[in-house]
Amino acid sequence: MGTYRPLKKVMIPIVSLLIALSITLWLLPSRMDHQWKQLLARTKQWETTSYQIDSTFMYDKEKATTERGEWSLQKSHYQIAAIVSDDSSFDFQVYFEDEAFFVLSGDQWYQNKVNTRFVEELAPLDQPFEWVRQLLDEADKIEVITHGEQVKYKVGFNDFNEYDFRGSMLKEQEQSTLIISVIDNQIKSIVFDVQPIRPESVGILDRYPRHLLYTIEFNPVKDVEFQLPKDAYESELIN
């Protein structure tokens, strides 16, 4: 057996290795960590701008809703068409103002606070960037694809911690992604492509999607302005 003397000749590299290993594990980021933080910071930057929004929600490859409107951090409004059949849809308008929302359906106004089931069903129209940040919390991988001025952030999910998206409880995922397209530092679109695995907790007779596809397109606008009539503020509550 060899005698290592002085002992410090061996101990110094070992201590160095332990220090470096600790710093690497706890403080240094992976490329994915860096890209994730970069995307998170960008969502905060993007939400300072107002946008015209066009979005589509597909349920099992069938168009379920289309939404068109304008979004800003304080105020947003949308014209929503919920597809009923091939040639008919249920149309209504939704207005978000601070902590409240107002719905105009036919000639009738309704209102409530934003933290209701109704708004959950419309998510992420109320706060699309907050929604992206919530999804980023559940991310399992991230990839950045660059083509000239276009940058695509592709976020992958293996599972969600019981995430409810428009009435479907998402848990384990087959291959689900959130793709955010950016041109010249401006957000252009978000595509949430979900291929969920049916949770065992969902009953045999309950409807559960094989595929969900949600697309939002963003076009910057100067500002979002609207004036709601008095009827809206005095309208009855909707849940």
Binding site: R5, P6, L7, K8, I12, P13, V15, S16, L17, I19, A20, L21, I23, T24, L25, L28, P29, S30, R31, M32, D33, W36, K37, L40, K113, N115, L136, D137, E138, A139, D140, K141, I142
Partner: protein, 366 residues
């Protein structure tokens, strides 16, 4: 020598008092007991700490001159104590001025202050036992006497080149490790920014925690209102609830981040029961029959305050204020009256419990 003995004795007494008061502050039961008897433990700890700080700073240079001529164990004790002295002093100063510091720094200061104490305890124990009972640990002679070092120790003494080697190796390993981690496809930061961090330290002013078997709790709203109302636990659960995820800050320096709280906005409750608040001030009373705090009415209604009954998806625990506590997101935790049983609307402002006995700010804004 006589001077040093006196300094050592005063140092020992001050340190022991400070250690004991610090531990009493740390432990919920003793902290509450001192609150009950009305002893200003925090202020006492601070005064002793100032005396300890002044004594140490005044004697540090002279003690160093004396001890550096002594055996290695004495030098070690000197440097060991000095490191802990500065650790406590700096973290203590940061804790004192925590109101003007970011949460990360003040939380860090609290953790460092606590852990420095726990890590120092074994040394204190050994030192006291050694002095009191003349117990001598079997240290090697080169450690406790002024004798030449044995070759096995002599050859391992660290020199400048050893430190350079340490930094050099660390740098190289960091480059290799950092590079490997950079290209490894792992995402570890997701969820870390919204993760619950920290833990609650339970502070009460009485050791008897109110209990409400069978949920027989009632919140009374009275005073300058159009009507007097009593709300039961089940009435509260029936009202529209609001959930917030917020950082809970204690005025003593610690915080718990990303706490999920569910409850009813006070303004929603007032609206649901058609209660008109006609007074400018509100006093909130705890079911412990001792604690209370006061607010300007608009601080609870317009700025939004919550009657919280769930934390992190679970009903509140008894020590957290079950079944209901007040929560004003813009204020320190001492304004969140636990076991809330009465909201009394008045036209004059009461001086709350901690404003009377602890000098805390009346509004308690973060």
């Amino acid at each position: 020598m006589k001077w040093l003995r006196i300094i050592h004795l005063i140092h020992g007494v001050l340190f022991s008092v400070m250690l004991l008061t610090g531990l009493f502050l740390f432990m919920s039961g003793t902290r509450t007991w001192f609150n009950q008897i009305g002893f200003p433990l925090v202020q006492f700890h601070l005064v002793i700490a100032c005396g300890y700080l002044l004594l140490t700073v005044a004697s540090l240079a002279r003690v160093k001159r004396y001890l550096l001529k002594k055996p290695r164990i004495k030098k070690f004790n000197f440097y060991f104590n000095t490191i802990f002295f500065f650790t406590w002093s700096i973290s203590g100063i940061l804790m004192y001025f925590q109101a003007s510091l970011p949460a990360e720094i003040r939380n860090g200061a609290v953790v460092v202050h606590d852990w420095a104490t726990f890590l120092f305890l074994p040394w204190v124990g050994a030192h006291i036992i050694g002095h009191l009972f003349k117990v001598h640990l079997p240290w090697p002679s080169w450690w406790k006497k002024q004798v030449p070092l044995p070759p096995s120790i002599q050859e391992n003494q660290l020199e400048r080149r050893d430190f350079l080697k340490l930094f050099g190796f660390t740098f190289v390993f960091l480059l290799i490790g950092g590079g490997v981690k950079w290209i490894t496809p792992i995402l570890s930061v997701a969820n870390s920014e919204t993760k619950r961090r920290g833990y609650f330290r339970i502070y009460n002013v009485t050791n008897e925690i109110p209990s409400y078997p069978n949920n027989d709790w009632v919140l009374k709203i009275d005073g300058l209102t159009n009507k007097e109302v009593e709300v039961s636990y089940y009435d509260l659960l029936r009202l529209p609830s609001t959930t917030i995820i917020d950082d809970f800050h204690c005025v003593t320096g610690w915080s718990v981040t990303n706490v999920e709280m569910k409850g009813v906005l006070l303004k929603d409750l007032l609206k649901a029961y058609e209660i008109e608040v006609n007074g400018e001030f509100v006093t909130a009373y705890s079911g412990d029959e001792t604690y209370f705090d006061s607010f300007v009415s608009k601080q609870l209604i317009e700025e939004e305050s919550y009657l919280v009954y769930e934390m992190d998806g679970q009903p509140l625990k008894s020590v957290q204020g079950y079944p209901c506590r007040l929560y004003q997101p813009n204020m320190y935790g001492y304004k969140s009256v636990k076991w809330l049983v009465r909201i009394h609307v008045k036209d004059s402002r009461e001086i709350g419990y901690w404003q009377q006995s602890g000098g805390y700010d009346l509004d308690g804004y973060l």
